[in-house]
Symmetry: C2
Subunit: 205 residues, 2 copies
């Protein structure tokens, strides 16, 4: 479950990853509430009790799914916050976030669900806390490089978030309109350049 696994994962770790993959997909497709541990077990190819060897309950599994995709982003931004950010780093960051997201392309649907469910308390609260923490980090970073008032910095941060997450939500549209596989390296590269261009416009103000 480490971001960069150098040793071969154990069978148990591989099963845990498979459970998280299934959970990520089903939570995104059906919503957290409507998804049962039984659905997830079935999708992951095991029986429901098998899940409890890895996760205490549905809430713990949800927390692990969030952690797996969001911790690497948090760590990346935290590293950038250790010193004043350079324009080159600021320009590259949206594309880096896109690439991290591409490893878990179902997550954006979960992020928007969590935003709609703000204030509904745990376990959506868990996701809401993640969102707010990441946005606070991003805002601290963007303030260093974006001109304009605080509202503009917030709106521009949300715009970058929407460009990134919307790209993954629009996957069927990209396929339908232009035969583009959004997860192909070629398409990700183009979207990365697009986001860099938008970020450049935001830095100029």
């Amino acid at each position: 479950m480490k971001a960069q696994q150098t040793t071969k994962p154990t069978k148990g770790e591989m099963t845990a990853q498979r459970i998280m993959d299934a959970a990520e997909k089903l939570f995104a497709r059906q919503g957290y509430q409507a998804t049962t541990l039984r659905d997830i077990a079935e999708d992951a190819g095991l029986r429901e009790p098998g899940i409890y060897n890895h996760f205490a309950n549905k809430e713990a599994l949800y927390a692990a799914v969030l952690e797996r995709s969001l911790r690497p982003m948090e760590q990346r931004i935290a590293r950038l916050l250790e010193a004043p950010i350079t324009p080159a780093e600021a320009l590259a960051l949206p594309g880096e976030i896109l690439r991290l997201n591409a490893e878990h392309p179902q997550m954006p649907a979960l992020f928007y669900q969590a935003i709609q469910a703000f204030h509904e308390g745990s376990p959506a609260g868990n996701a809401a806390e993640w969102m707010l923490r990441l946005f606070a980090q991003g805002r601290a970073l963007n303030r260093q490089v974006m001109p304009g008032d605080d509202d503009s910095v917030v709106l521009q941060g949300i715009a970058i978030f929407n460009l990134c997450c919307g790209y993954f939500l629009a996957q069927p549209l990209l396929r339908e309109l232009a035969g583009i596989d959004a997860l192909s390296d070629d398409a990700l590269e183009k979207q990365q350049r697009l986001m860099e261009r938008v970020m450049r416009a935001f830095l100029i103000g």
Copy 2:
């Protein structure tokens, strides 16, 4: 139900609008499948049979909800397609789409639901057809003004769509992070300028 009603709406028309408002909200929040005509009637403050005076069934109501919010956009873009588009018109269009969307701020959730349900057939098919028709129009327009290959034009069109729709989906986040009411004129004005800036970056290439 006309986009620009000059005469006073009848009581029947007002009831139909109220039913569509309730349907829009509940479809967006719960999804089309999970929403019953009984839920919608209750939210609109009438009994279920009352809906049938205005809409034949749930599918017809869904079609009317889509029509109400998307027809004005389609007409606006169709007018622009009648003559070569000027750069000023191209720059202003994303903001105009934002303003039209602001009259039905629940719709973006429905658009993304429809995109996920592409190929699942009617009634999501109805929404999918709308999406594809609007994107085809937008693409014809963007081709006139955006440099770059066709994939870039498609990706940039989707980026504008995501900036617009994501803005409304992120409403709770805007409130939480900066106390911004996304539907206030001030915030819409700022988002409009942001989208114009992005569009300018896309026109330069």
